[in-house]
Symmetry: D3
Subunit: 206 residues, 6 copies
């Protein structure tokens, strides 16, 4: 009731404009919760097991990498309860998978998309037989990423998010200014030395 | 002759600038015809049977969802008659399918892309054995979408088109302002009640 | 050392700001080298044989069409040497393949992506058994494109690059103004005549 | 009532979402009426005599050049009737006069700005003693502009509107593509000849 | 020392990249303090008395309306201490006063601009003889604005900020969607009734 | 003839499309010449003596600061020779002076604007009695700017140009990333020490 009615107590005699102001703040609050994942400077891996519905899709599209088990399914459910999804799916999903016909099919019909189709369209980049192997895969990937230079990894995440929202020319200008400082990090000689000596480099905390 | 020559009667002694002004209005007119499909507030499903060539591709990329029979093919034919496509294909196709290498191959060579490849790259989201089953599939999908809240469906279409053309941050701001009003629709309690009682809700005309 | 340290001689007592200015010019120079491929008015086909690593990926994503042999692999190697890729991969790869989960997996882990996956995700649009057949395929494609109107082909390339970096509405306005002049080319009647007479048209140099 | 209530007949039992859809179309219609002035390819001169209030300000900010008599005043009246101006003033006025403090003062307080201040802040570029001399001045300016090449004048208007809404770099690219064709007009040699011979050139209709 | 050195404790052996990350968060924090003024939904009036230097200019350019006494001066002081202003002046000042030559003069030379020039260029919209009369003027203006519909005033502020950062076309679309709901406020009939009866309307809290 | 006809030799039988390609490269070349001034990392002061016409206006609007003698005049002459100005005036002038009515008056009528009006509208920020005093004023200003930290001055120029072409929010993000490195310059302690000891600081070459 509350959620679908636009959040918070409805006040006696409140006019439409005031309802809209109140609901606007309410939606902003939900949006920010999911955008916080995107703003996390470290890569975030979503591992989906079984049902991922409505706000679940909003959440995983704000993550960097998506994995799932083969008994998973995904459903942009919002039209079935009378609203356009408003906390990220409609904004991020079309940029996560480059397939507008599928995106609109999913968002207009609210049908379930099963794991195999999700893998084939790129919503997830790996599909696993079961939850346990997926969690092992996710942890192995997380460890691998964590073993690398945080300057390199976090710069990469910032650059990819910037690139998504700008032209190639603007993106190149951003990374040029960014790396003009970052190329002076000690992580570069440490990484090169590590590669030559086959010993894992130890990077300072960022 | 007329079409390819830039439209309308050429006037005696018309200079280049004036030819260009005349042709510009002519192209604008064609573009608007296809953009009208995109501006239609209701989802539009394209069902392709056999050849979809040149302006056909311009038209279907302005639709929301694309289906085809397995004997269909698609051809961005314009370079073969000496021009760059100018009524939508070059603008929309790369955003419809996230595969720049394929898009450029198709647009530079004017080769035919057959149904299986069109399905695999996402130009169409379903492929059917024959025209009849496709039309049944298209009608079923249309009915399914039509059974849902028009406030939800039309808001979803507007949001997806806005998202395609803006950053994620701008897109989120748009849907926040939009849903601040739309979440107060009667379609939400009607949809929820319909789901609980298993009876199809009846929505007012939008 | 030089490259990774940000380019050029480090000067005695140079402060951070001055190092950054020096490195910024250095990165700009590298970026421009790859962007030159994108600025080439004629389509550029990349034919990849075996390893395509780091700057190799920066380079091929600035090309129009990508082909590879089935023993090729691709690797966004930069995080392994402590930096975020800064000469094009992070800006262009996500627009070349519409699959954010895969892009981030590749860029954060620096893992190898082999030819089959590169074909399936659309990084390359054709995969060949061996180098020789690939080079024949690439040359055949190049000849096919070169046989077509240069006004049409170069306009198409300009339009696709413009479209990638703008909204659909801005893209349509651009091609409208562009074709308002280009539709008056002699290449159109020549192309039409060629198609009718089955004789290859001869276009003037552009 | 009608106008302020959002346009058109309110229907029995109409929910908020449906009211908003109806009102949205209503506002769009008003906006388009004023934007039509901006879309007119020929320069439009507004000559203001006495009161210019509310929609009057929306209208004149969509014009190219503004003149007034010294007994004129201007008033962004909308807050006084409970609404934010929505047919152009808030979008165009700050770009017409580069003085944000004044714009917000005018729009928040709905105070009258008299002719002298309007001249000093640039809202009008000429102030006249009386209506008759203003109309003569406006007609003289219109005749002067009409005596010049329509290719030059209309291209200038298009370029200025484009420049207002884009970065300098985008603006330069636009005029480059535009003039690539327009510089081939016969109006250039005619204009040059006219200047040399002191005889007014006669330009073809555009 | 702290402020100018980029904020926070410098850690032993911290490399350039890590210094930059730390300083970046530090600058973001300062920026947000001033942007908070712009985000305040109610108009903010700055009343400047005597010196307004450095961060003072950052602060007042984030306000809506600026007033000053005639013994005030304004100084973009940052270059004198070795840095480019980074908490708003360089971004907002050129949009607050439409005079690039003056803006660059002020920002490159760090010279003082006295009240009369500040009034003439539009940095302030009113100049007062002394602090007391300015504060009375500011309070009178604040009371006047506060007597008006908050739906109208806050929508106006949001629209002006949106307009500053978007094209006219985008701005019109925003206010159209916004007012589609806001025109249904009770503040409109209340305002109209108030104007007719000459009695101040009482608006509900927003 | 050459210039106005679009540059370079016209080739026998060249079609419209080919003329346009040739002219486009020709205009790009001219534009780049003026944009080079804007790209110069150091502030550029234009000192105008007497007539500043056509390309002269293109040139000075690409400069940072404009001065003139009181016998100067400015004329956007292009419409008088049959073309829309295409090397910068139409893009930069409206952003240099915040007065659209005046800009359009000047650009449509090609009338002369004399020094006093140029000072009043902000095209120039100082007006001098004669050339000699202007050159002294310009040199004094240049010396003053040159005495300050080059890190501060050049960062300020980059930030102002970025701000002109982006939203406030984008501009703040840019300066945040930029100063995250630049605040570590030795120019800051040197500047502060210089201010305290009243001795001009000596900055390293940038």
């Amino acid at each position: 009731g509350d959620l679908l009615g636009g959040g918070g107590e409805e006040e006696e005699g409140e006019d439409i404009a005031r309802k809209v102001f109140r609901t606007r703040a309410f939606v902003a609050n939900y949006q920010d919760s999911f955008t916080a994942i995107e703003r996390c400077p470290k890569p975030v891996i979503a591992a989906v097991h079984r049902a991922c519905i409505g706000a679940g899709v909003d959440m995983i599209t704000a993550c960097d990498i998506r994995l799932c088990t083969d008994n998973s399914f995904f459903c942009v459910k919002e039209v079935d309860i009378g609203l356009a999804a408003d906390v990220g799916t409609l904004q991020r999903l079309p940029k996560v998978i480059g397939n507008e016909s599928l995106v609109r099919d999913l968002c207009f019909t609210a049908r379930k998309m099963y794991a195999a189709e999700a893998k084939s369209c790129g919503l997830v980049s790996q599909m696993f037989k079961e939850k346990k192997s997926m969690m092992q895969g996710a942890m192995a990937m997380a460890k691998l990423i964590a073993s690398k230079s945080p300057v390199a990894v976090q710069g990469t995440k910032l650059a990819l998010i910037h690139a998504r929202d700008h032209s190639v020319s603007e993106g190149l200008q951003w990374i040029k200014d960014w790396n003009a400082a970052m190329l002076h990090t000690q992580d570069i000689p440490k990484s090169v030395m590590g590669a030559m000596t086959k010993k894992a480099p130890i990077f300072s905390k960022l």
